[in-house]
Symmetry: C2
Subunit: 448 residues, 2 copies
């Protein structure tokens, strides 16, 4: 009997929980699920002798220590800031840990101690980061083993809405934390292209997109993530001339989103005066230069200010959000980003029955025997329903599979580890196929 | 005999030091000047029995306490971050303090204790903040006493180069901390216009300038400062419909500076890869989209990218900085802002003999007896030479005069005080005239 302690049971944990409960009898697991809200879990676990849900407060040191002591393996899907305390407790008590979050400097500092104690802290095991590492490393390894020399690697991931439910002019709905979507891209994106470091500041980010195409799903666009450089080392691509990681959206999204950026509506650094008195249109007007005539509409002033065609698609997208309406903001002490998030939530929330879609595309170029070859590896994953969304499946299933492998003693890596090793990614990618999470590859020889 | 401890003897302290030394014999002052570098002061103070210069390290707690204990009044021109420790020491030992820096929340927290101890902490006593408060309050008080109702107050200040030495296409040279000039305006500018709060994000700030005109000196332009709202309360203008504080430059400066903003060259939040290997032109190229043909020049790519006329004044300004040259950056681990500062310093440093100029303009509108009246109050101050620059005089002299008034017992305000009271600003403005620091006022009745 092995005990698993899962911390964090929010929306993205659904598929992970289902997997653990499904495998528990055969694997001999006992599952404890801790969260600040567990009522929704009771119908699921109450009938099961091998599972329970408990109220768990990560700030309660005594509870944290007690629950970790009962576990053989801890999985944390808590908000990323809480992981480090959990990790320290695991280290203290000699327990393995898995999370889907980024390795931070605080975690790197635990690497050596974890190795010395023969423990594994598996991180970046979800979708992005997670499946992106695993699927990329599988291709990179194959190219290397064939003697190829990688010259370019670009990788884009997007959480979108499935085609059948892709019904609004933005071709986007929130399938993930709305706040993160509003704040996405702030700072300067850094990458390398043909051996030259490139920098794209926020005010240019949504104007400098790449075009992408997915067979059967049509065109997409990608904007660069903040940091495309730091994975060169773990991927073994320190001297690769071109490397870029990005976020994927449907065509036209970025041009319209750029309006918010240019106006300043995504700023989260200060609160608006009297935001509770604002309407959507007075919110927008606060960022516009004064009207030059009394008859100018807010939409007209905006299109003039930013040079956007008055009857074009961008203005249509904005109008569809009711951005120029007299709807009330009704948020006190709000930042511009918080007001924008509220406006977007009204229109971009998944409707009952809506299904989401994850799209990930890797583009590799390499030299082999005097030829330049290109590999495109693409994942399209659909949600099953509102609970088992594509996001929940792609984040939760790799974590769950790695948990199984770890408990089965099949992972030999120790310390703070990300899934860039064949012993991790090969079985995970293989099992993910059973859940329809599968990459389609296309290889071409580039002709001059 | 009264003892004055002056902390900080950098370039902007020259006129303050001269004033203190000039008045010391008649006023019966003993002057101690402390700085981390004092060699340049020795020729000045060595012959004087009533003055000395000492090596002073603000981080040395014992020295701080010892020197403050000797003083009747402390003046701090140290970098603003160091003031609070000095203030706490003054409070502890019951000494008055004067600085030219902004009142921060940490200082506000000392207000009550200072009042209880019958002490005065005079702040914002330089140019901006300082002379701007004093000169504006003098006009505001007069308008109020005449029964006028203020409807608009805009105020702009700029540190520029005197017309005779205004010889480069930017019409700008560094007369103040270059780093602050490079980082100026980051964040979102907030002001109020006709009763509506307005917000200008950094990426629009240098595009949304106001036109200004100074008799005898021609046209200028102004961009909004970050915070125009917080002075409504101390000025007694809580319900004023329009209030804006801004920074003043020569016409054309902002349009060209905006190129740096749009490219991302003013970002100070990350370091460039291999910055020590960069040339000026490769620095610029790192922020440009890839070339579309092999023959495109960096300048050509920039003008295409940002839509700037290739042979216009903006491109001329940029080329004049050697921005497209193969000059070496030669700075390791530098941020974009640090590289830009280096490039600008080469061209914008005052030449020997150059004189600087301070321009401040207040624009008031008020209603009186059914009429709308406008008052323009303008200061133009020239540097005497490279030591007694306009900046040093306008920052240092009001501090010095207020020090004299405080030691003469003529200031009754206690606590943390800014110079918005007639007992402070009237004698200061009067004495500043003797130094040629004088406002010219023009009042007009607005006709429909």
């Amino acid at each position: 009997m092995k005990s698993i302690l899962l911390l964090g049971a929010g929306r993205s944990a659904s598929s992970l929980i289902k997997y653990l409960l499904d495998y528990a009898p055969a694997e001999g697991w006992h599952i404890t699920i801790g969260d600040i809200m567990v009522a929704h879990l009771q119908p699921l676990v109450a009938p099961l002798s091998f599972a329970k849900a408990i109220l768990f407060d990560v700030h309660n040191e005594a509870q944290r220590a007690a629950e970790v002591s009962q576990a053989d393996l801890v999985i944390s899907l808590l908000p990323a800031v809480f992981h480090i305390e959990v990790a320290r407790e695991c280290l203290k008590q000699g327990k393995d840990l898995i999370t889907a979050s980024y390795v931070t400097p605080a975690f790197l500092a635990l690497h050596q101690e974890a190795q010395q104690k023969n423990l594994t802290i598996l991180m970046e095991c979800g979708l992005d980061p997670g499946i992106d590492h695993m699927s990329a490393m599988a291709v990179i390894r194959r190219i290397r083993q064939a003697g190829g020399q990688l010259t370019s690697f670009k990788s884009y991931t997007g959480g979108l809405v499935a085609p059948e439910y892709d019904t609004n002019p933005w071709r986007y709905k929130f399938t993930w934390n709305p706040r993160n979507v509003v704040l996405a891209g702030q700072g300067t994106a850094r990458y390398i292209r043909n051996g030259e470091y490139k920098y794209i500041p926020y005010q240019q980010l949504f104007r400098r997109t790449d075009e992408l195409y997915v067979e059967g799903y049509g065109p997409f666009e990608g904007y660069a993530n903040r940091d495309s450089l730091s994975y060169r080392e773990p991927y073994g691509l320190l001297n690769i001339p071109t490397m870029l990681r990005g976020t994927l959206r449907r065509q036209g999204y970025c041009e319209a989103w750029d309006v918010f950026v240019q106006l300043g509506l995504t700023d989260d650094s200060y609160t608006l005066e009297d935001s509770e008195m604002m309407t959507y249109s007075s919110f927008v007007a606060a960022f516009l230069p004064p009207a030059t005539t009394e008859t100018q509409s807010i939409a007209g002033r905006l299109s003039l200010y930013l040079g956007i065609p008055q009857d074009g698609e961008v203005m249509q997208k904005l109008a569809w959000l009711d951005l120029f309406s007299e709807k009330s903001v009704a948020l006190a002490g709000a930042t511009p980003a918080q007001v924008l998030e509220k406006i977007l939530k009204e229109k971009w929330t998944l409707a009952p029955g809506d299904k989401d879609m994850i799209v990930m595309q890797h583009l590799f170029a390499y030299e082999l025997a005097g030829e330049t070859r290109e590999v495109t590896s693409t994942l399209v994953a659909m949600g099953d329903d509102e609970v088992h969304t594509a996001m929940a499946k792609t984040v939760g299933l790799p974590v769950a599979i790695l948990a199984k492998l770890l408990l089965q003693g099949k992972i030999t890596q120790r310390g703070v580890v990300i899934p860039i090793y064949p012993e991790l990614y090969e079985p995970v990618l293989k099992e993910l196929k059973e859940y329809g999470i599968d990459f389609i590859e296309k290889e071409t020889v580039k002709t001059e």
